[in-house]
């Protein structure tokens, strides 16, 4: 696989949309005030709209993770002259380049997805804890995306290839 700025821009465009949709569902889902408590979660899951929001959040949270780890990071590493390896190798390299934080957090995020499937988790305290952690982890996703976007805008500026219009 060779460095391909056009493909990197294309993936950035997809992740930019994913970030927009993730932020939008978080505004609809999470409480404006107060904690993500078991009582709040019970009230949420008592309504069809609440279940839809929860599932929409989990889907978008998962998709953005996959896009960054499976697509964006490998193409970013190619662009900086590195050879992509396994997901963990790529996360370690991206950490050294200051693009992601602790790679363990990214491994944990993949695991966290299983803990967010409300049909499987009967204990509302567990589900609320998982949702709270996922909420916090979205910052890491957005920071990684923005770090790669800033790098690409700086190093591979192509007319019409800035994402600012889509935000």
């Amino acid at each position: 696989m060779n460095a391909n700025p056009d493909r990197l821009w294309q993936i950035l465009g997809i992740v930019a949309k994913e970030e927009t949709y993730l932020n939008a569902v978080m505004l609809r889902l999470f409480p404006k005030h107060g904690d993500i408590s078991p009582a709040w979660l019970k009230a949420l899951l008592d309504t069809p709209e609440g279940i839809d929001r929860m599932e929409s959040f989990v889907g978008k949270f998962s998709r953005m993770q996959d896009s960054i780890v499976d697509k964006l990071l490998p193409h970013f590493l190619l662009a900086v002259g590195e050879t992509p390896g396994t997901a963990l190798d790529n996360l370690r390299r991206a950490e050294r380049l200051g693009i992601v934080g602790d790679p363990d957090l990214w491994l944990a995020m993949r695991r966290l997805r299983n803990r967010l499937i409300h049909e499987y988790v009967d204990d509302l305290a567990e589900l609320a804890a998982a949702l709270d952690m996922a909420h916090a982890a979205t910052h890491e996703l957005c920071n990684a995306f923005r770090g790669i976007k800033n790098y690409t805008e700086h190093n591979f500026p192509i007319d019409g290839n800035t994402l600012s219009d889509s935000h």
């Binding site: 396994t86 997901a87 963990l88 790679p103 363990d104 957090l105 491994l107 944990a108 695991r111 966290l112 803990r115 009967d122 204990d123 305290a125 567990e126 609320a128 804890a129 998982a130 709270d132 952690m133």
Partner: protein, 90 residues
């Protein structure tokens, strides 16, 4: 190695069993299914479970690892009972 990581993240008091295909199959291949009994709130045990998962994934490579954590102050679920009946202590 697994026991060492469990102790590091959950302390000496945690009980850990290996269950599922690793115990059942003669080949000893397949997924690594771990059952853990531990103290703590839902948020505390989840945070420890995720750290343990990341540590094991780092040390074992891209293997499929599943971790079931039973908090001691909560009722046993079907998966907890099955793991306790068929699991092998580590």
């Amino acid at each position: 190695m697994i026991r060492e990581e469990v102790r590091q993240h959950f302390g000496d008091g945690a009980r850990v069993l290996l269950f599922g295909s690793r115990v059942r199959d003669e080949t000893r291949g397949g997924d690594i299914d771990l059952y853990l009994e531990a103290e703590g709130t839902a948020a505390e045990t989840l945070a420890r479970e995720l750290k343990l998962y990341a540590a094991l994934q780092r040390r074992l490579g891209e293997q499929r690892i599943d971790i079931v954590v039973h908090r001691r102050d909560t009722p046993m679920r079907a998966i907890d009972l099955a793991a306790c009946q068929t699991g092998m202590p580590l």
